[in-house]
Amino acid sequence: MIKKSWVLVIVILLLSVALVACGSKPPATQPPVTPAPGTEGPAFDGELLIGIMVPTTGSEATYGKDMENAINLAVEEINAKGGLLGKKVVTTTGDDGCDPQMASAAASKLVSSDVVAVVGGYCSGATLPTLKIYADAKIPMVVPAANSTKIAEENQGWAFQVNSPGYHQAEKATQWFATLGHTKVALVHQGDGFSEDLANLTKANWEDKGNQVVAYEVVNKGEQDYSALVTKIKSSGAEVVYWTAYHADGALLIMQLRQGGYTGDIVVGDGSSSDQLLEIAGQAGEGVYCTSPPIVDFLPAASSFIQNYTAKWKQSPGPYSGLSYDSANLLFSAIEKANSVDGDAIRAILVDTKDFPTLSGNITFTPELTLVNSNFIMLKGENGKWVLAE
């Protein structure tokens, strides 16, 4: 009984405080939309829906969550500043599962929920079939991660790639092979759009420079045993192996290369830049190089982003978090400038983007809607962590 009466007293006290507060305000300044109880901040005139398309299940789910978190952080920040066009920015996520069919379904779902624009696209293979879906619906899409050149080729003018395209990465990789003093390279990919693309570009780039690709191999996704491949690479006399696919199978290949007695250098592509690669590979991961997109940990401009991200999500940002955050901000700025939620208006502003400042440098688009300047960096595995190699 004592407990109940205390609750009553508190309720009465709170009510009277609320009454006094209301009474002291003139009714004319009441906001048009009352904020939900418990939330403070600016008042909004409706909502503005942004779609997020990332893999939140499957082998690439880790990256997808990192991207989603970063976009939602950008959304929280813009809402704290009063939203966009007076509206509150809200997001809805479509899971592309890094799979073309799931991605098409996710894109259709986002289109039918009337999103103003989309931030998303991690796996190039899954992003490709969605280009037409968004273009048909006149929905601009900022792509933070997927960087296959096929996207630029099949782009219908509505997708904006904020990550450097594959040939920027191939160039970075071959520069590094030369820096290490190697001439014989083995390339290994996984037969999907992304990794085969990078392997082909690297092959062309390396051979253009007058060097030799001594082995060009492919492994099947889900296969665990690469010992035969390791023997072939060893017997080819390769001085450096470049793995262009994803981290889970990459870790297996690295371990089996070392277990099989391969002593040359190993470089992995940006799909393998996860810390999990080093965690699974263990001691074999020491000294492995990685051509990486601009990871925020190594960008001086990103320290406050890292702080806010870590505070909000209780984990450190992933490799594509920074670019996802940049993509969201680029899109917000374009919507603001267009002063409209009309797809054509936003697209026109995005096309003319010039030196838009982001965590990873300034964004200017080529006529193909890809970045003008490369943003790749070179990392190295040391004591189970990636550090800047240069």
Binding site: T57, G58, S59, A61, T62, G191, E217, V218, V219, N220, G222, E223, Q224, D225, S227, A228, L229, V230, T231, K232, K234, S235, A248, A251, L252, M255, Q256, R258, Q259, G260, G261, Q276, E279, I280, A281, G282, Q283, A284
Partner: protein
């Protein structure tokens, strides 16, 4: 590397890979032999075995009485028992009520069990790859020109030993005799006083335990686990079982090792390489089946129904 070195190394690679295929193929073959069921869930039992062994290793802190190898052996025995019982439970709940139903119904049930298993593991592990740390390192020895790590040597020996024990069990014990009898005719066995259901359960226990051992070996050797890791090896092991003659125990081992060798050498042969190695090995397997439809060790059998 000289031609001879490459040849020996690929021979060794093929044998190691083939013994994995063989261990998993045994389970397919035994179950098919005894109740004519393609047990699709078998590949997922392999995967579950990997995860359960990891959980046990973590529980013991990776060692037993302070020894890494003893820890692994203990974990393997426990894993085989636990997963063997899981196999028996699956058989009891999902298959036994269907023994008298049409073959297709029980096939679909097996498909369902497979989906339940890998989806359950996906939910539990969050769909992520798990590192399998054993601290065994890459120490090893040279066998001729082939460098063999201790892990590889033990894995080959262990899988060969398991296959041998199974072979002796089937050919030399009363239970093995009962299994072979049931494969021929359920009803006659029942008339002879054999508890058919019990022997079928025993078959599932043995097959699942072997798959679990293979799953754990894959974890130890490859260093990571994933909820879908059974898929590819399941297809290959099933193929191996068919090539060897499904229902025939030595056939499963032979088929597994043959497939492993074909893949290894396929990777090395110019113009085939890693891109075409599966096309190469499966083309040869198709050829074998064209000329010997019952598999390498299979005998012509007349319809018994």
């Amino acid at each position: 590397m000289s031609f001879q070195e490459i040849f020996l190394q690929q021979l060794f690679n093929g044998l190691l890979l083939g013994s994995f295929y063989g261990l998993v193929a045994l389970g397919y073959s035994m179950v098919y032999g005894i109740i004519k069921l393609l047990n699709f869930a078998h590949a997922d039992i392999y995967m579950v075995g990997g995860f359960i062994s990891l959980a046990i290793l973590k529980f013991f802190g990776g060692t037993f009485l302070g020894n890494a190898w003893l820890g692994i052996v203990t974990a393997m025995i426990l894993t085989m028992i636990i997963v063997g019982l899981l196999g028996v439970a699956i058989q009891r709940v999902a298959y036994r009520p269907m023994f008298n139903a049409p073959r297709l119904s029980i096939l679909i049930t097996a498909l369902g069990v497979s989906m339940i298993l890998y989806n359950a593991v996906m939910v539990i592990t969050g769909g992520e790859y798990r590192a399998y740390k054993t601290g065994l390192g890459y120490g090893g020895f040279n066998m001729g020109s082939v460098y063999v790590t201790h892990t590889q040597a033990i894995l080959i020996v262990a899988s060969m030993a398991l296959m041998l024990v199974l072979h002796l069990f089937i050919t030399r014990t009363m239970y093995g005799k009962a299994m072979r009898g049931i494969a021929l005719d359920h009803d006659t066995c029942r008339l002879m006083g054999i508890n058919v259901n019990k022997i079928i359960a025993l078959t599932f226990f043995t097959g699942s335990a072997l798959a679990a051992a293979a799953g754990m070996m894959a974890g130890v050797y490859y260093g990571s686990l994933h909820f879908f890791m059974g898929f590819v090896i399941g297809i290959k092991a099933f193929t191996a079982a068919v090539i060897g003659g499904i229902g025939i125990i030595p056939g499963a081992m032979l088929g597994g090792i043959l497939l492993g060798l074909l893949e290894s050498f396929g990777t090395q042969i110019p113009f085939i390489g890693s891109q075409w190695k599966d096309v190469f090995s499966f083309s040869i397997l198709i050829l074998i089946l064209i000329f010997k439809p019952t598999g390498l060790l299979g005998k012509k059998e007349s319809e018994r129904m």
